[in-house]
Amino acid sequence: VSASSIGRLVMLFLVRWSRYNPYYLEPEPRKELYNMPETELTTEQKEERELKAVRPIKATTNSTTSSVFNDPVLSKFVNMMMRDGEKILARGILTQTLESLKRKQVEKYHKAPQGKKAEIECNPYAIFHQALENCMPVIGLASIQKGGKFYQVPVPLTDNRRRFLAMKWMITECRDNKNRRTLMYEKLSQELLAAYSKEGNVIKRKHELHKMAESNRAYAHYRWW
């Protein structure tokens, strides 16, 4: 079966399609990668460069830049927080969150005794990444039908899925269990700090998922992939 016929079949059955031909490759906006001299490249990178030279490349999205402040994880988080296409509001909330994280940490830093000062992390980006990593589940559950019943089967998760679950739990937690008077960025910074020190509701939810997976480990053989 030729490649073109496979492509056409795929077009018929999948609903999620793209305006780009599948021949197009993803763009690479970071500028450090283009300044590396020939000698520092591995064979894989050299091959990738040769491939990129002959293939057309997609256009970079609106939220990506070559700036050092551009973070794909943060962009994804902003998009997930966004409602009704209000990106400005979502991004504003995130900026306020990072600012309030910084303020709280700096306050702690100044109040702490000399010995403890080095342990306090003041970089809000580092806190955000570490908190997300602490929230990411290691194993997940999948609903598999066998013999007419649906079983919750423990299943390994991909990195993207784990990151998505961590961010989703964080956002839903902040939206649902928020006091009426507290603002979103306030609650989010509290949750992030709690997750950074491995406390809080999101971490609890992660542990519950792990416990469920552990208890259902008898059904692990139902997974066929």
Binding site: V1, S2, S4, R19, Y20, P27, E28, P29, K31, Y34, E47, E50, L51, K52, A53, V54, R55, P56, I57, K58, A59, T60, N62, S63, T65, S66, S67, N70, K87, I88, R91
Partner: protein, 378 residues
């Protein structure tokens, strides 16, 4: 009514077995065939077949005739094209016939051009030239035969080398990155034969197997014949030459589009770094940080942040699409100031591709492009 004589001769070579009855002996007689039957038989014979020497003779005669015609017209025989031939014939043999196909013509039959038609594959005695003729796809099977011979030779050589001592093998001696396998249609064109999808898949499988062997460097030419070089994408970029105004300052203009927003940009190599959009400063026009980031993206990527002075006009679309259109226009305008390596890195960063995403249309029976109407049970 047409009369055709045909002779049905009993097969003397078949020895009649006492179990099998002998075939009936039919004497030769005239067969009366109607014109309708005769027409059917012609169609059943298939397309007209020509022998190799006939085709060669026709092409030679055409070439000689072309040279004669050029001499007649007083032109150079070496540079006499088909268009000149048509012109000369129309001049020498003027025809008032309405149907263009009925006018005199001097052309090689399109089937006789190389790679179009298979000449008759058997000689006057009826014996085919190629030993694989009776497979039906002789070029395909002979190609597979040759490739398998090469694979076996390479494996034998590998065994010999291994018996001498363990040799460090480098992965992929033949580089595959800048080329692709010929498509099924292209292979059919090369072989002048139709092959099935299964045949094509087997061919590709066999070639991949040949390439997986370590000592296949000697077969590089053979493999390259069945691979097509992909053209380098950066050569497709059209870079306008740099223009200079009266003060000697270099400038360039470019357009950009994104969704419904269109814009034009004039970049001047001043050294000020100020950008004005529709007469207003960019800080006033784009109060949102994301749009300003998009505007500065091409400058920041090439480390030319304060170098250029921009005058832009933008219209249509929303704030985000206007920013995207400006980004594309700025990247295009900057191309004339850059070296080829920088152009290629801009292209790989995704700055030079126009974004094809547009608003998806609403479909009938649905509320929006994707949203369906509320499902009601009854």
């Amino acid at each position: 009514m047409e009369w055709t004589s045909s002779l049905i001769v009993p097969q003397d070579s078949i020895k009649s077995n006492w179990l099998i009855p002998a075939p009936p002996k039919v004497l030769s007689r005239q067969l009366c065939v109607s014109s309708a039957l005769h027409r059917k038989n012609l169609a059943a014979a298939g397309p007209e077949k020509f022998s190799e020497e006939f085709i060669k003779k026709q092409v030679e005669e055409y070439n000689i005739g072309k040279r004669h015609l050029a001499n007649i017209m007083g032109e150079d025989p070496e540079t006499f094209t088909q268009q000149d031939i048509d012109r000369s014939i129309a001049y020498l043999f003027p025809s008032g016939l309405f149907d263009k196909r009925a006018r005199p013509l001097m052309k090689v039959r399109p089937e006789f051009l190389p790679g179009q038609l298979k000449s008759v594959q058997w000689g006057a005695d009826g014996r085919p030239f190629h030993f694989l003729f009776y497979t039906g796809k002789q070029s395909y099977y002979s190609l597979m035969h040759d490739t398998v011979a090469k694979v076996l030779a390479a494996e034998k050589q590998q065994v010999l080398l291994l018996s001498e001592g363990p040799v460090p093998q480098d992965t992929k001696p033949i580089s595959l990155v800048g080329s692709r396998w010929l498509l099924k249609e292209e292979l059919e064109e090369l072989l002048v034969e139709t092959i099935s999808d299964h045949d094509y898949a087997r061919f590709i499988q066999l070639m991949e197997r040949l390439l997986s062997l370590p000592n296949c460097l000697s077969e590089k030419d053979f493999v390259q014949r069945y691979r097509k070089q992909l053209e380098i994408q950066s050569s497709k970029q059209q870079v306008a030459p740099l223009q200079y105004d009266e003060n000697g300052v270099a400038y360039s203009t470019a357009d950009g589009r994104r969704k419904t927003a269109t814009c034009t940009v004039l970049l001047r190599d001043c050294g000020s770094g100020s950008i004005s959009i529709n007469g207003r400063d960019y800080l006033h026009y784009f109060p949102v940080l994301q749009d300003r980031e998009q505007l500065m993206f091409p400058f920041h990527f090439l480390d030319m942040l304060g170098r250029f002075d921009g005058q832009c006009t933008v219209g249509g679309g929303g704030r985000s699409s206007q920013a995207g259109a400006l980004r594309l226009a700025i990247s295009r305008a900057m191309l004339s100031f850059l070296s080829e390596g920088q152009v290629e890195s801009m292209r790989q960063a995704g700055l030079l591709t126009p974004d094809p995403r547009v608003k998806e249309r609403k479909k009938p029976g649905q509320e929006g492009a994707r949203r369906k109407f509320t499902w009601k049970k009854r």
